[in-house]
C-alpha cells in the first residue's frame, strides 16, 4: 500500500514517499510524513508495520544524534546505513522484530551522494535507484529504462513524475500525494509535493 522511491544523481539524491496513513480500508491521514531526518544530510524513509515504523525510525534518529554529541561529528551515510542494518538484524531474531522497509539517502563530503535500500529481513544494498511497496513492481522497470547516472536535478524530478504517473494509471490504490525531498552538499531541501491528476 505504501510507496517509497529514491533516485541518486551525480551530486544529489532525490527521494519521495506517499502521504497516506491507512488502517485496514480507511485512510486515516492524507499528510503523513514518512521521512525522518537522521542528521543534516541524511534522511530515512520508513514504511511497514504500523507503530514499528515510527518506533524504529525515531530510535535510529536519536542514536545518530547521540553519536554526534559524543564524538563531535555526524555519522556518514554509509555508517548510518550499516548501523541501521545491524540494529534491524539484531532485532530480527528476537521476540520483537521490527517489520519495516527502509530507504536511507544521504550526502557524504568525501563519497558524495548515496542511496541505501534495506528491507525487513535486514538486507542492505547500495543502489542508484530503489523503491519499496507494491508500487515498486510498477516503477522499477521505468527506472531501468530511463535512469542515467548523470541525471540533472530537473531530469530526476521528471523521472520521478513519470513513475508517479504510472502509479496513478495502473496501481489499484489511489495515492493522491507524495512528499519529495532532495539531499545535496547543502543539506536537505523540501521540494513541491507531487499530486498526480487525471481520471483513474
Amino acid at each position: 500500500m505504501e510507496y517509497l522511491i529514491g533516485i541518486q544523481g551525480q551530486d544529489f539524491v532525490l527521494v519521495a514517499a506517499d502521504n497516506i496513513a491507512a488502517n485496514s480500508i480507511i485512510q486515516m491521514k492524507q499528510d503523513q510524513d514518512k521521512m525522518f531526518k537522521l542528521s543534516d544530510k541524511i534522511l530515512l524513509l520508513c514504511v511497514g508495520e504500523a507503530g514499528d515504523t515510527v518506533q524504529f525510525a525515531e530510535y535510529i534518529q536519536k542514536n545518530i544524534q547521540l553519536y554526534k554529541m559524543r564524538n563531535g561529528y555526524e555519522l556518514s551515510p554509509k555508517a548510518a546505513a550499516n548501523f541501521t542494518r545491524k540494529n534491524l538484524a539484531d532485532y530480527l531474531r528476537s521476540r520483537t522484530p521490527y517489520h519495516v522497509n527502509l530507504l536511507l539517502a544521504g550526502f557524504d563530503e568525501t563519497d558524495g551522494p548515496g542511496l541505501y535500500y534495506m528491507d525487513h529481513l535486514s538486507a542492505l544494498a547500495k543502489a542508484p535507484f530503489a523503491a519499496h511497496g507494491y508500487g515498486a513492481y510498477l516503477t522499477l522497470s521505468i527506472l531501468d529504462r530511463y535512469y542515467r547516472p548523470d541525471l540533472t536535478r530537473d531530469e530526476a524530478v521528471d523521472l520521478l513524475k513519470k513513475c508517479i504517473e504510472e502509479l496513478n494509471k495502473r496501481f489499484i490504490l489511489n495515492l493522491p500525494s507524495f512528499s519529495v525531498r532532495l539531499i545535496d552538499k547543502e543539506g536537505i531541501h523540501d521540494l513541491e509535493k507531487l499530486m498526480p491528476v487525471g481520471a483513474k
Binding site: 525515531e58 530510535y59 536519536k62 542514536n63 544524534q65 547521540l66 554529541m69 559524543r70 563531535g72
Partner: protein
C-alpha cells in the same frame, strides 16, 4: 580543579574555562573541558576529568532518551536535576565514591529562557545568574558579585567580556589560555578562543 566561569545574559549564555597549558609533546586537542550535552545545552566542569566523562556520557544519553519519549528537548533544569540525582546516588548507596566534579550547565529552554545551573559532588544544584567553580572560585565569584550588573550583560559582547574579565582575575598567563563556549538563543554551541568572538 581548573577555573571555570559561567554567565547568564539576556540572549546569550557564556562558559569560560582556563585551558591548562599542556606539555610540549602533548596534543592540545585531547583536553576538552566544555562539552555539548545536546544542541541547546552544554556544560563545563572542574575536578576529575575521568569522572566528568562518565557524567557527561550519561547526560548525553538522557538528552536523547528524553527527546525520544516526550518528543521535546530537555530543559536545562531537567538535565541538571538528572545529573544531580546521579551524583547523589553515588553518595548514599552501593559503597561507591562520589563523582569528583562540580559542573556548570548552561543553555536555553524550549521557550527561549536562558539558564545557568551549578552542581557539586554532593548532588545539590542551584540556579545562578553568574558563577564560578574551581580552585579560586571564591575570588572570581566576588568579582562577579561586584561587576554583574544589568549594563554588564546588556549585550552579547558585554556578557562575553564579563566572562573573560572574570577569568583573567585568576588565570595566570592571560588571554591565550582561555576557552569560551557561547550559546545564543536558537543557535548551536560555539567553542572558540576569545580573539575570534569579541570585536
Amino acid at each position: 580543579g581548573d577555573h571555570c566561569v559561567g554567565i547568564r545574559g539576556t540572549d546569550i549564555v557564556v562558559l569560560g574555562v582556563e585551558k591548562k597549558s599542556v606539555a610540549k609533546l602533548q596534543e592540545e586537542r585531547t583536553v576538552r573541558k566544555i562539552c555539548a550535552l545536546d544542541d541547546h545545552v552544554c556544560m563545563a566542569f572542574a575536578g576529575l576529568t575521568a569522572d566528568a566523562r562518565i557524567v557527561i556520557n550519561r547526560a548525553r544519553v538522557e538528552c536523547q532518551s528524553h527527546r525520544l519519549t516526550v518528543e521535546d528537548p530537555v530543559t536545562v533544569e531537567y538535565i541538571t536535576r538528572h545529573i544531580a540525582t546521579l551524583k547523589q546516588r553515588y553518595t548514599q548507596s552501593n559503597g561507591r565514591r562520589p563523582f569528583g566534579i562540580s559542573a556548570l550547565i548552561v543553555g536555553f529552554d524550549y521557550d527561549g529562557t536562558p539558564r545557568l545551573y551549578q552542581t557539586d559532588p554532593s548532588g545539590t544544584y542551584h540556579a545562578w545568574k553568574a558563577n564560578a567553580i574551581g580552585r579560586s572560585a571564591k575570588t572570581v565569584r566576588e568579582f562577579l558579585e561586584k561587576n554583574y550588573t544589568d549594563e554588564a550583560i546588556a549585550t552579547d559582547n558585554e556578557a562575553i567580556k564579563l566572562a573573560i574579565k572574570a577569568l583573567l582575575e585568576v588565570v595566570q598567563s592571560g588571554g591565550k589560555n582561555i576557552d569560551l563556549a557561547v550559546i545564543r538563543r536558537n543557535q548551536p554551541l560555539k567553542v572558540t578562543s576569545p580573539k575570534s568572538l569579541v570585536v
